[in-house]
């Protein structure tokens, strides 16, 4: 009991309670989170697969269209936001606080622009989720991703505020790593959604 409390490198016997002895806790947490996200997106993509491939339904549904070009620009905006958050993190690792703040502001603005354009697209599509199975799965997939973007924007807002308050330093900026990883994950998911729903 005491041996376990002394320190991981000194103890012998059973591993520390509630902690893996093989995988670092932050890595394990992120891995489990990503796995759960893959499951939920996987379920939605399964529905898309059954509607489009198994049932051979036309895509998009007859007399409808998807704004591929506009959303292509939106995709570039989201990809740019991943560049800017990477810039922000690279900056703080080198002690560049201006780069950190500019990067975070840019990321938040670009991410908000993406979501705003997506909402605008919903308003002007001309067809509703209940109009067809194709429409339902379109709104479901893009909407699920939009929810993830919204959550990401909440995380980015917190990081941006903390950046301006001087909470981060080259030695201590772990609180930025997870939102950064999450934002890149959101980007990867959008590439998959955009490619399958809009392009192919």
């Amino acid at each position: 009991m005491e041996a376990a409390a002394v320190g991981h490198e000194h103890h012998h016997g059973p591993p520390v309670a509630h902690r893996s002895s093989r995988v670092e806790a932050p890595t394990l947490g992120m891995l489990l989170f990503i796995i759960s996200e893959v499951m939920i997106f996987g379920a939605f993509f399964t529905a898309y697969f059954f509607i489009r491939v198994v049932s051979h339904n036309a895509w998009p549904a007859p007399h409808t269209s998807v704004p591929e070009a506009t959303t292509g620009v939106n995709t570039a905006i989201l990809l740019s936001s991943s560049l800017t958050i990477h810039w922000a993190l690279s900056s703080i690792r080198r002690g560049n606080r201006f780069g950190l703040k500019a990067g975070m502001i840019s990321t938040f603005v670009l991410g908000s622009a993406f979501l705003g354009i997506q909402v605008n697209e919903y308003i002007h599509l001309g067809w509703a989720p209940q109009d067809s199975a194709q429409a339902t799965v379109f709104y479901a997939l893009t909407g699920l991703h939009g929810c993830h973007v919204f959550i990401g924007l909440c995380l980015l807002a917190i990081v941006t505020i903390r950046s301006f308050r001087g909470h981060y330093s080259p030695e201590h900026h772990q609180g930025m790593e997870v939102p950064g990883i999450y934002w890149h994950f959101v980007d990867i998911m959008w590439i998959i959604v955009y490619t399958t729903v809009y392009v192919l």
């Binding site: 670092e24 932050p26 950064g180 990883i181 890149h184 990867i188 590439i191």
Partner: protein
């Protein structure tokens, strides 16, 4: 530090960059094959 995109944002960014490149190539191939066929 070992490559770990789940722990390190730089590694995650590298995974994103590679993913975008690979998907772009795949989509380009599919669109070309569709255009030719």
């Amino acid at each position: 530090m070992a490559f770990n995109p789940l722990r390190n944002e730089s590694d995650a960014f590298r995974v994103l960059a590679w993913f975008v490149a690979v998907v772009a190539v795949i989509v380009a191939i599919v669109l070309i094959v569709r255009a030719v066929a």
